[in-house]
């Protein structure tokens, strides 16, 4: 892997995944689509971390540990976020992010 695929290739893949996720998070109309974009971005960050761990410090566990903590935080974020989507849907009867604008001045 190290000899065959250079590190910038993996970094490019992660950056592309992050940008696709950012596009989804910013342009989807419905809140669940936004959350799916955020999940894609978190995955891209994890790919980056694992790539750096593998290419630079494969004998230490720090990179993998960081990625595991990010996965745990992402799971918590997904649970709370989807619960909020359900609460918003119950209150506003919509999941369109543009229609939930009660705090708009």
């Amino acid at each position: 892997m190290l000899n065959a695929v250079p590190l910038p290739a993996v970094l490019t893949l992660a950056a592309a995944l992050f940008c696709i996720g950012l596009f989804g998070a910013l342009s989807r109309r419905n809140l669940i689509g936004v959350l799916m974009g955020v999940e894609l971005m978190l995955n891209a960050v994890n790919v980056n971390l694992v790539a750096f761990w593998r290419y630079f410090e494969p004998r230490y566990i720090t990179g993998q540990t960081f990625a595991i903590f990010i996965i745990a935080v992402a799971a918590a974020e997904a649970a709370v976020g989807l619960a909020m989507v359900i609460a918003v849907y119950r209150h506003y009867a919509t999941v369109n992010a543009d229609e939930v604008d009660q705090l708009r001045g």
């Binding site: 940008c19 669940i32 566990i61 745990a72 799971a75 997904a78």
Partner: protein, 217 residues
Amino acid sequence: MEVVVQMVFGLIALFILVAAAMVVSVRNVIHSALWLIACFFGVGALYLLLEAEFLAVVQVLVYVGAVSVLILFAIMLTRQISGEGVRQLTSRWPVVLVVTVLLFATVMTPTLINQQWNVPPAPPLGTPEPIAGPAELGRGFVNEFLIQFQVVGVLLTVALIGAIVIAFEERARRRKVLTLAEELELKRLRERTTQTETPEPVEAEPVARETRPASEG
């Protein structure tokens, strides 16, 4: 050997990117969630290729197993959005596309052109490379990363309780357990005067449900 690895990496990368693009562009939200699961699988395969086996297993367990099920359930609970006829992107999506492409270019230009990475050379083929595996990870979690490990446990518990508190309605407010669709029908009935759209035809059943709890209370 190297060509095989390169081909596998290329296939995985193509799979991940196509799946991610489908996630953000497909109209049906359920199809979008299924493409998201495919994308998670692709990232797990990439972890395997990068020789992070434990992370690959965690990825499949947490993302493919738990997060995707959560997302599918949320989609099913908020039903009316998953139709194909609904427009799924906001009207400002071309601007967002330009911004993300610019961000990609800004990030990748220095990375690819003038960054010297100084990657330590891989050991010659045949000699095993020391790679931290699950055993070292487990030892790290009970030694140097013990506090962080506990904090993440507390965070997960708090998130669990918080999700329940946010998503559940108090029992006192709803005297009869209604599904979300029935609650929506009730809400539409009540707000029919203020609603600008033409209200959908309402069946007789929710009306009866609405009057009965009111008389009980």
